[in-house]
């Protein structure tokens, strides 16, 4: 039966997670994003007021919380701890004040750090968990693309 080296898979995940959230290393450039446009540097440039603006019937704060919520739940899947999820709860945040915006960004960073730790430590990448890992990256990329387009409308 053909196999893949687990460390190769985990390292590829780590590189893409880092690029999606922290941006690619400046010297090396990105695999799929332009330099310095990862999630954290993108959100850092946005004020709470701008994150709360209604753009296309949604807001950057809403997309940020939704992306964070998804990351948190999928990380629980990696630890087989997830119960029934009401995904409607992921869209509850619409506007934020300055403190709430700082808190939301901090919780996103914390969830990201937990995901990186899970990816590094996980020893059992079965067919379900590989989907979870791929979903974390692609879902975050989708909302990063949406957020960066919304920023152009501010």
């Amino acid at each position: 039966m053909k196999t893949i080296v687990r460390a190769d898979f985990a390292k590829a995940l780590e590189v893409l997670l880092m690029e999606t959230f922290e941006s690619a290393p400046l010297a090396e450039g990105g695999v799929y994003l332009d330099r310095e446009i990862g999630m954290f540097s993108t959100l850092e440039k946005i004020s709470a007021t701008d994150a709360s603006l209604s753009i296309n019937d949604t807001s950057i704060a809403a997309h940020t919380e939704h992306a964070r919520f998804y990351l948190d739940i999928l990380n629980k899947y990696l630890h087989s701890k997830a119960e029934f999820v009401n995904w409607n709860n992921s869209w509850r945040v619409k506007t934020v004040d300055e403190d709430e915006w700082e808190d939301l960004k901090l919780r996103l960073a914390e969830n990201y750090r937990e995901v990186c730790e899970s990816v590094e430590k996980n020893e059992n990448w079965d067919v379900n968990l590989i989907t979870v890992a791929l979903g974390m990256i692609t879902h975050s990329a989708y909302h990063l693309g949406a957020i960066r387009q919304m920023i152009k409308q501010i």
């Binding site: 196999t3 460390a7 791929l134 957020i147």
Partner: protein
């Protein structure tokens, strides 16, 4: 002797890559859940509903046609990298298209679909999956998802301008 925990089944990896890739382009299968997109939403059916006029409309200094050509160009080049390409790419060439007429839009949409199908062929041809080509195939999906997210916001913005 190597511990089984240091290996992943290739068929598990490929099955999941194909599920996420298919969802990204074709949308999740009818009657089934989705992994990361709203049900039924994918690149191909998103583009199918748009006219040449809509995709050529200037929107914050870009167009949906431009994003479509860019993501197709990326698919083609990444497939080449997976197949062994070593020379660098002039990525500025991926942004050469800005507007399209109806015939050009038909051709571009067909090109995106063809490039997606070519990725499936490309995946089937890989003998050994290592860190590089695993990263490249995930990047193909992530890059497409990024631009799908952007395109769908642009479509929503058009709706607000009506």
């Amino acid at each position: 002797m190597e511990n089984n925990n240091t290996r992943i089944l290739r068929e598990d990896f490929l099955k999941d890559v194909l599920i996420i890739l298919r969802e990204t382009f074709e949308g999740s299968p009818p009657g089934q859940g989705s992994a990361y997109l709203d049900r039924g939403i994918g690149v191909l059916n998103t583009l199918e509903d748009l006219s040449a006029e809509q995709v050529s409309a200037n929107f914050n200094e870009t167009t949906i046609a431009a994003h479509s050509e860019h993501l197709k160009f990326y698919l083609d080049r990444l497939c080449e990298f997976i197949e062994g390409r070593e020379e660098s790419v002039n990525w500025e060439q991926s942004w050469l298209i800005e507007t399209v007429n109806p015939q050009e839009w038909e051709t571009l949409r067909a090109g995106v679909k063809k490039s997606y199908e070519n990725i499936l062929r490309c995946i089937a041809g890989v003998e050994v999956w290592n860190q590089n080509n695993i990263g490249e195939i995930i990047a193909i999906i992530a890059h497409t998802a990024y631009h799908l997210g952007a395109i769908r916001q642009m479509i929503k913005a058009f709706g607000e301008e009506d």
